[in-house]
């Protein structure tokens, strides 16, 4: 019997579709929600029904607690899956879902409250005997003397922060006063809470996280780690499992620390404990997230465990079976994020309509996409278009598979980061797995002159297409739509 008969997904894009797919497999009727900007979005078309929840601005739709809950009640949903981002870590939302008599697919509101406070989470980890990044465990006063003890450079972070916001690097004692004022102001405006703390800036480091799954019966499964060291401004771009940097001893130490942190938290859902690993293989607790991660698919590929399915089942009270408790990791998986961002222009977001959308397929390839051809990108939302994942017997085969998959990928209309990812798979430090969080700054850099050979190839293609369109017996239609001349060639071929 399905754990629920109807479930509402309080999200959009690829993650809404990801949850819809598991709902289908479990026999649950998925209900989606949409803002006015998403009336024609892919996730809306894939659900059994969709409810309008407000105007395009997230604050008035995907973050509007009352509108989301009203939608769930109207449609008779029994549970709400929040996906990631938006309301997924909002204790007020979790409380409101329960108050409406529905099941929140996630931890109890009190857990979200305690872990949402990064300072409280640091104290919790420390109390559990887990090393934390050196720094303060109480809110910073205006006195900067305590920072001298931590050492420079250091990071000022917002206690209520996340996603890289409210963070500020400080290189010398002279800069502390100004940085403190700025960080407080930023934190206050972004999160309504100006509490900041300090951590030493560790570099070079790797960013490694441990996937956990808990049930309501006290069982806790540790489902391996993911290496998320390839990131830019604290936004992850590539994740892989297992981490190429650690041996079984370090892995076991990370798992042990993750278990200790989780032991102090009531969460009965999917959760991730994030660590930094320095060059001496010391690890430091960074934070714990009690929601589905963007990069969860990497773990699903190597363990064969459907994390979304188990999130839903444990929310309905089912215990984790031994098959999940003792799931082992097989082979190697890598995920790359296809973003509508321009890597040749400081990764600025690109806008527009997707004109062509050809995703890779074949052995060991998984694509979780939120868009398709003719999708208009909505500037209000995250520029993540799709996650391309590969799975193979070992890392070297996975890298080869990823290269092949990227070469099959064709996206038209907007500049994406695909070119950066294609460069990455041939980069020596990526191929050997010996990279750290500085890879993009150190090796990708700022200036990207067009290689002469690519210009010469582009000339061939453009001249060939112009020639083909002009030799057509049918006059190209007078249209400003990009690619119209191409449609003409298609017609000409069809006439043959």
């Amino acid at each position: 019997m399905p754990p629920f008969s109807r479930l509402l997904i309080a999200n959009r894009g690829e993650i809404a579709i990801r949850v819809i797919r598991t709902c289908r497999e479990l026999g649950i009727s998925p209900i989606s929600v949409h803002s006015d900007a998403d009336v024609d979005a892919l996730h809306v078309h894939m659900a059994d029904a969709s409810e309008r929840i407000g105007p395009p601005a997230p604050r008035e739709s995907y973050l509007a607690i009352d509108a989301v809950i009203a939608a769930a009640v109207r449609r008779g949903a029994e549970a709400i899956h929040p996906g990631y981002g938006f309301l997924s870590e909002n204790p007020e939302f979790a409380r409101a879902v329960e108050a409406a008599g529905l099941v929140f697919i996630g931890p109890p509101p009190t857990t979200l409250e305690s872990l949402g406070n990064k300072l409280a989470a640091r104290r919790l980890a420390q109390a559990a005997g887990v090393p934390i990044v050196p720094g303060t465990t109480v809110a910073l006063a205006d006195d900067s003397r305590e920072l001298a003890v931590i050492g420079f450079p250091l990071m000022l972070k917002a206690s209520a922060g996340g996603g890289g916001r409210g963070m500020r690097r400080v290189d010398s004692p002279d800069d502390v006063a100004d940085a403190l004022v700025a960080a407080r102001r930023e934190a206050l405006s972004a999160f309504g809470d100006g509490t900041v703390y300090a951590e030493r800036l560790l570099a070079p480091v790797r960013h490694i996280e441990v996937q956990l799954l808990g049930d309501r019966h006290g069982r806790l499964a540790v489902l391996g780690e993911r290496d998320c060291s390839i990131q830019r401004r604290h936004q992850k771009l590539v994740e892989e499992s297992p981490s190429p940097a650690i041996d079984p001893g370090i892995r076991e130490a990370l798992f042990d620390s993750a278990r200790r942190v989780a032991g102090g938290v009531d969460f009965h859902s999917a959760a991730t404990v994030e660590f930094l690993l320095d060059t001496a293989n010391n690890h430091y607790f960074l934070e714990m997230n009690t929601r589905l991660q963007v990069e969860h698919g990497v773990t699903e590929l190597v363990t064969g465990v459907d994390l979304v399915a188990w999130q839903i089942r444990v929310a309905a009270g089912q215990p984790l079976p031994d098959a999940v408790m003792h799931a082992s990791s097989r082979g190697h998986a890598i995920e790359v994020r296809l973003y509508a961002e321009d890597p040749y222009n400081d990764f600025r977001p690109s806008a527009g309509r997707i004109t062509a959308w050809q995703m890779p397929a074949g052995p060991g390839v998984r694509v979780d996409a939120g868009v398709a051809a003719d999708t208009d990108l909505q500037p209000e939302y995250d520029p993540l278009l799709a996650k391309l994942m590969v799975h193979a017997d070992d890392r070297s085969a996975a890298v080869d598979r990823l290269r092949r998959a990227l070469d099959e990928t064709v996206i038209g209309g907007v500049q994406t980061d695909t070119g950066f990812l294609r460069w990455l798979v041939d980069d020596a430090s990526f191929m050997t797995g010996s990279y750290d969080t500085g890879l993009i700054d150190d090796r990708w850099g700022i200036d990207h002159p067009l290689p002469d050979e690519h210009g010469a190839l582009a000339a061939i293609a453009a001249i060939a297409v112009r020639t083909a369109t002009e030799s057509s017996p049918i006059r190209p239609p007078d249209s400003t739509r990009a690619g119209s001349a191409w449609a003409d060639v298609a017609r000409r071929r069809a006439l043959r």
Binding site: E408, G412, T418, L457, A458, A459, I460, A461
Partner: protein, 154 residues
């Protein structure tokens, strides 16, 4: 192959030797660059002289012009440089066929101002930049020589 010339960022580009482009999906612009045993996918979007070619995930704007378009574009650039930003002058001798604007009109960059018949072909004279038209110095039927002031932009 043809008299078509490709430019990237204003620089003429020599097409890669030995390579050809095979069309796979004309409606979407998807094709494959092939050279013997080597090949890679490419996407071509656009029309007339303005194209964007995506190779290895990078969008590359390519201007493809015929010999005639090259002459006109070169002359237009030269005229703009000579006359300063405010005046649009004839870049070649010919007959004014049509005048599309009059004093007081606001035009966008690239908008057609008038048409000149030259070398037995109709050629659009386009606004070098956006602005208001303060004077139109010619009318349809008039013959102009190279350098004749045609339109003044504010």
């Amino acid at each position: 192959m043809s008299d078509l010339e490709a430019r990237i960022d204003g620089e003429a580009v020599t097409p890669a030797k030995g390579w050809r482009f095979e069309i796979i999906d004309p409606a979407r612009g998807i094709g494959r660059l092939i050279n013997g045993a080597a090949s890679m996918p490419a996407l071509v979007e656009g029309k007339a002289s303005d194209w964007v070619v995506t190779i290895r995930g990078r969008r590359i704007p390519v201007t493809v012009r015929s010999w005639r378009e090259q002459v006109l574009a070169g002359a237009e650039t030269a005229a703009t440089a000579r006359a300063g930003p405010a005046a649009v002058r004839a870049t070649l001798p010919g007959l004014i066929l049509t005048v599309a604007v009059s004093a007081g009109d606001t035009v966008d960059e690239g908008a057609t101002l008038l048409t000149i018949e030259a070398m037995k072909m109709q050629n659009d004279v386009r606004a070098p930049r956006s602005g208001r038209v303060i004077e139109v110095s010619v009318q349809a039927g008039e013959t102009v020589t190279t350098g004749t002031p045609l339109v003044r932009l504010e």
